[in-house]
């Protein structure tokens, strides 16, 4: 072992960074973290637009300011209930769910668009 590394090991006194474990968690949970981050941004935008503080939002939702603070950091696995309550308190839509009805509507729209393109090409 190099003398420098020996000395660094002594100075560190066996202590190590918390980073590796957190990086692994971030990597494993990336799929929902992306959504949490997007929601955090929208909540912050809405707070600014409405002139609300995090404390005021917490009071409206009957939760602690600390809870709102974790939400706006964008690293919380939010429940549907919390998301719905945020939407109601802020008067915004944070997520939209593809339901059976909207799924059919979307497919119908796509087919109509294709047909229109094809008939436009024929007309031209």
């Amino acid at each position: 072992m190099s003398e420098i590394r020996k000395k660094l090991a002594e100075l560190s006194n066996g202590e190590s960074s918390m980073w590796a474990g957190k990086a692994r968690l971030r990597s494993e949970n990336r799929i929902w973290l992306k959504k949490s981050q997007a929601i955090a941004f929208e909540v912050l935008e809405a707070l600014d637009e409405k002139g609300l503080t995090q404390k005021k939002l917490a009071a409206m939702m009957k939760v602690t300011p600390q809870f709102i603070n974790t939400i706006v950091k964008g690293n919380v696995n939010l429940t549907l209930e919390t998301i719905s309550r945020l939407e109601k308190a802020l008067g915004i839509q944070l997520i939209s769910i593809v339901t059976f009805e909207t799924g059919i509507a979307k497919r119908t729209q796509k087919v109509s668009a294709k047909l229109k393109k094809s008939s436009d090409r024929k007309a031209a």
């Binding site: 072992m1 190099s2 003398e3 420098i4 590394r5 020996k6 000395k7 660094l8 090991a9 100075l11 560190s12 006194n13 202590e15 190590s16 960074s17 918390m18 980073w19 590796a20 957190k22 990086a23 692994r24 971030r26 990597s27 990336r30 973290l33 981050q37 955090a40 941004f41 912050l44 603070n69 706006v72 950091k73 964008g74 690293n75």
Partner: protein, 187 residues
């Protein structure tokens, strides 16, 4: 001030990257930076404060929303890269973590002992920077990092603060006689 190793699942002898815990900080710099770079509230506030830099020609009037998203994605890629390299998975020809660091001053081409160093993700035009000091055995001590929106460091308080951190760590290494150990290194 304290020094900590960043990776615990490799032998000390293979440990080339270390981090610093400054007094009154809750964690070491490496951990603190990636916490910040994935914190939406912090990023939004940062880019709001530095909106004039985003509006400059170089960034083509990038929106705060886009800047926040870009930073988070870069941090993810940076973490993946560092983790893979340190666990022996080559990343675009890079096989060791010390290879991602290079001289902080763009006018210097060769790595030197006790030199100020920087590292950045491999993304196109990255925001993120890690800063550190290269030691005689090629170990890197990460002294800090930043979101860099301007070509030069001077003129931006948060970037100048990083340069001061490097000097503080140099003093610490000097006080703890690490700088003198380079005389014992057999190359």
């Amino acid at each position: 001030m304290k020094i900590v190793r960043i990776f615990t699942d490799i032998k000390i002898d293979d440990c080339y990257i270390w981090s610093v815990i400054y007094d009154n900080e809750y964690t070491d710099e490496f951990n603190r930076l990636f916490d910040l770079w994935t914190n939406v509230e912090y990023l939004r506030a940062f880019f709001t404060e530095h909106i004039k830099d985003l509006q400059a020609d170089f960034w083509n009037n990038l929106s705060i929303r886009s800047a926040v998203l870009k930073t988070i994605r870069e941090a993810e890629d940076f973490e993946d890269m560092i983790t893979d390299i340190e666990h022996g998975l080559p990343w675009k020809g890079i096989s060791s973590i010390k290879q991602i660091f290079r001289p902080l001053d763009n006018r210097e081409y060769l790595d030197k002992t006790y030199q100020k160093q920087k590292a950045r993700p491999q993304n196109n035009l990255p925001f993120l920077r890690l800063y550190g000091i290269r030691l005689a055995d090629d170990s890197i001590i990460v002294t800090g990092g930043a979101i860099k929106l301007t070509e030069k460091m001077d003129g931006r308080k948060h970037l100048m603060a990083e340069l001061r951190k490097i000097e503080r760590v140099k003093s610490y290494l000097n006080e703890n006689e690490i700088i003198y150990l380079e005389d014992l290194i057999t190359i």
